[in-house]
Symmetry: C2
């Protein structure tokens, strides 16, 4: 295999730091989350905007094999005309090219692969404003969030996946001497060699809301472990992944590898290309983020592949008591307003005893708690210019339809408002809708209502809230949970309940940490232990089955 | 969680050594493979025999819940009357008890669990002769092999699985402080806790030939990661696993845990209990060794579970040339004779150029190579008293039927002989059958013929042999492969071909290392990269999905 590529040496310090981070899981980040010119220089932002705009109304420049036509049709939630057309590939040609690219990549070994992958991240980071614009105008995220979640945090998650993948591949040494004593005779001696071999072609199926953040872990976990990756973006959020594929191919080619290790599979609306690809025998890994229905379909049908899914769930907040009522309301409100509740981690069900709760300012009735949260939401969304920088825009019509459908199912505590975006007249902006429900309306709150929709639910007691939490999350899953209590016993009970239903739980968030945000290298996203996801981003289980180890032994 | 159990401290040195071993993969063994009284004392062997004999004709002493009757009917390949009856459990009662046992085990934490599991291995090792007798008389292995493969090596593989499981659980720290700088303000600080949670109830489906060796990795990988384990033995090889379950329950109870963490699910012949258990929603992990047909069925149907299967394959030897003709023939012969080819790793297809090969003694024709191997087999099996110590007995009638069926499909190079066992008059003993086939008879040699059946296959050239190797192993899988060549280029070509079809390969075995033997802590058994197995024993991928990590975060 020879020496690793010089890119390994270039990036080994970052890799080592990331390997330390995943062992320690304290705070660390490799990619600065601030879009400030003090970090990136004055010209980075305008250059990124210009690069983004240069794609609009054109054929996206991607020289990959099997292009038989052009596909497009993204609709920006901000009402901006995109009109980018992407190469539409012949599936056979794409998969043949991907398969042909693998042997050289496999034989290059883990060090070279991780070096090249780190260089891809560096290239993406150099073009982070271009990426952020593409994320903003396809997902509807506000700019700062698109820069952070779609740029810096996505790159951190990619690096985390690279670190886990590298650690996993190098748990087994590349070679060893085996020397078994044989009584008085000469010992038995063999040289053993272990090769990392890829599983096959990996398919990444992107989502509409977080095209990069949710795709990068699977993409880079598969790539670093030797697989070729076909990226099938959501038809409404192609550009961020097209840009990603473009830079990945550039770096691969510069490093002397076949760029067809990373290809884009854009599709016409309604084409169902994900299902075609997912069932191909050559496809041995599938990563998917999206609906429970389609995730379940993939798990049931893409049987030749290792399938990693993140699906829907009922994220829950249990309110027992607090010694910071205002902080609690403000923290919850922020989680509801951020990207209009269109994060897979945003809370939906807020369980509050109908007799109210104890606070630092005495007893608060159920209605006072509900109104406190609603008022805090109102405060964040009162000024349109400030509101849109939090809410962003509504990602697609499904969310609007759901907002209409749900409003008759409970008492409206806070109504959703249409907001006129000061900069984008056609942007579709909505503030959160909050309904009051009684605990007996589980047929409503027991399902996910994706979008700016949440329920404040009146329960008999905190014990009852915990029962509901166990039952609803046990059945539907959840990516996040949170508990407010002044009583350590209640916190512990909530933590044990969370263990039983396999959901990560945060306690007493009243400051600058929010239940819907997870930090790469420290927080796991999803657990794989409930119906909301069959894997966590990123741990050993997420990477270990993306490759195999094949051994050779020869006498010394 | 408090301090770990004292058993952790008792065994931590062994654990540490095992953790080093799996990182280095040189030679190491924790359990002495010699049955000599110099190792175990004079009384160990007779005590083991007596313990084994005490079970015969009785109800096996196992106090587990839900026993509704007794099941039995093992037929010893040595013709010894066993007549042991095992508790037949109500499935609901068994699974309820297993589920109830898990929370305390989960909450005990990785250190305590690994300490208790290591104590179970120690207890089994103290009773290794009892175990060896049980393996011998159910599987048909000769005594030394039953002691080694069924005892010491099985325990080494169990320890290896414990080490991987422990390493995997402790990759994530139990807790960490997360401190994120916040500009000029106070940093954000959170305490984070990570809990290992089990996946659910694990089902281990044992096989007839290696009831302990093939079951222990899954059993201990699942147990140490917090799951309860239901052991469903092969109806013809119950006793070794009944003894295992008995000692495991003893140790668990002594250590203060619910013994129902490990239970036995014995069945009546033809009952199909494995399928009933494998489809239960509570069963979240399945480990299986056996036929391709049933392994594929489990993978397709036990969809709620992580399914690890070892199935059939076409193990292949490629002969290109050798500088030790006699050593090569003797080494291959030993692999064919050992346990009458009834190892899942035993070679079946021996590919030899029809124009013969180069050796240290000049050119040898195809027939000379074939005869050389046949003669070496004959030498090992010529004396019945010595032969039976290698061949053991034929595990079941399926093997005899296959021997009959295959003999008309090729030219008989060496016929199978019935041998009278000097000690067990009713033992069913057969020596290897070797057929000559032309390369065009792939419809015969392209499938597994489990038992003392092998083919010497005439190919056009070594390149042709490699083609056949790629095609047959690519289609049917293999657990082992071996190449003989004096040419490093050919060795490398074979190694690359082995990578492409994902099979471990050994080169030029002419001494005391055999292709069908793998050493725990160094050799992987199976790769998961071809149709013969969907996992390797034991690596990160084998353990990583047996548990999940659930996180809690609280403000400091």
């Amino acid at each position: 295999m020879g020496n690793p590529h010089p890119l390994y040496d270039k990036h080994v310090a970052t890799l080592d730091r990331a390997l330390t981070a995943i062992r320690e899981r304290g705070y660390w980040s490799a990619f600065n989350e601030s879009p400030s010119p003090r970090v990136h220089g004055e010209e980075a932002a305008p250059r990124g905007t210009a690069a983004f705009e240069s794609y609009l109304g054109t054929e996206f420049p991607l020289d990959q094999p099997g292009t038989t036509g052009w596909a497009g049709g993204e609709q920006s939630p901000f009402g901006v005309r995109l009109d980018v057309r992407y190469p539409h590939a012949d599936v056979d040609a794409l998969l043949v090219a991907a398969a042909a690219a693998m042997p050289g990549w496999r034989d290059a070994g883990p060090q070279t692969r991780v070096g090249v992958c780190l260089e891809i991240l560096t290239r993406l980071q150099e073009n982070i404003f271009e990426l952020a614009n593409a994320v903003q105008f396809t997902s509807g995220q506000a700019f700062v969030m698109a820069f952070q979640a779609g740029g810096a945090h996505a790159l951190d998650r990619a690096l985390e996946a690279l670190a886990y993948g590298y650690a996993e591949m190098t748990r087994t040494p590349a070679e060893a001497l085996w020397e078994k004593p044989a009584g008085k005779g000469e010992p038995l001696r063999m040289n053993k060699t272990w090769h990392v071999v890829p599983r096959g072609i990996a398919l990444v199926i992107g989502c509409n809301t977080f095209p990069t953040w949710n795709s990068y872990p699977g993409l880079f976990a598969s790539l670093v472990t030797g697989n070729a990756v076909v990226v099938k973006p959501h038809p409404r959020a192609v550009l961020p992944l097209a840009i990603t594929v473009k830079y990945a191919r550039e770096v691969l080619a510069e490093a002397g590898f076949d760029p067809n290790l990373v290809t884009l599979a854009a599709e016409e609306p309604g084409e169902g290309l994900a299902s075609v690809l997912a069932l191909r025998p050559e496809v041995r890994i599938v990563d998917f983020t999206g609906s429970t229905e389609y995730g379940d379909w993939l798990e049931a049908n893409a049987r030749q592949a290792a399938v990693y899914t993140e699906k829907a769930g009922v994220n829950t907040i249990i309110i027992d008591s607090t010694d910071n009522f205002a902080g609690m309301c403000a923290n919850i409100a922020f989680s509801l307003v951020l990207y209009s509740g269109q994060m897979c981690t945003a809370p939906q069900n807020i369980l509050v005893p109908r007799d109210g709760i104890a606070t630092e300012a005495g007893h608060k009735s159920f209605d006072e708690v509900a109104s406190g949260i609603a008022a805090a939401v109102g405060k964040l969304t009162g000024d349109p210019a400030r509101a849109v920088e939090l809410t962003g825009a509504i990602v697609n019509d499904g969310v609007l339809e759901r907002l209409e459908r749900v409003r008759d199912l409970g008492e409206i505590l806070l109504d959703s408002q249409a907001v006129t975006h000061p900069a984008f007249a056609d942007a579709v902006v909505r503030t959160p809708l909050i309904l009051k429900l009684d605990a007996d309306r589980e047929q409503v709150y027991g399902n996910e209502w994706f979008g700016p929709i949440s329920f404040v639910i009146a329960t008999d007691s905190t014990a009852h809230s915990l029962d509901i939490f166990r039952r609803t999350v046990g059945r539907r899953g959840a990516l996040t949970a949170s508990i407010y209590s002044r009583d350590d016993k209640v916190l512990d009970e909530a933590e044990w309940a969370a263990l039983d239903v396999g959901v990560h739980v945060s306690a007493n968030l009243t400051g600058g940490v929010f239940v819907n945000q997870s930090a790469a290298f420290s927080d796991f996203h999803g657990s794989g232990a409930n119906a909301a996801a069959n894997a966590a981003l990123t741990d050993g289980a997420y990477v270990a089955s993306r490759f195999r180890v094949v051994q050779s032994r020869r006498h010394v």
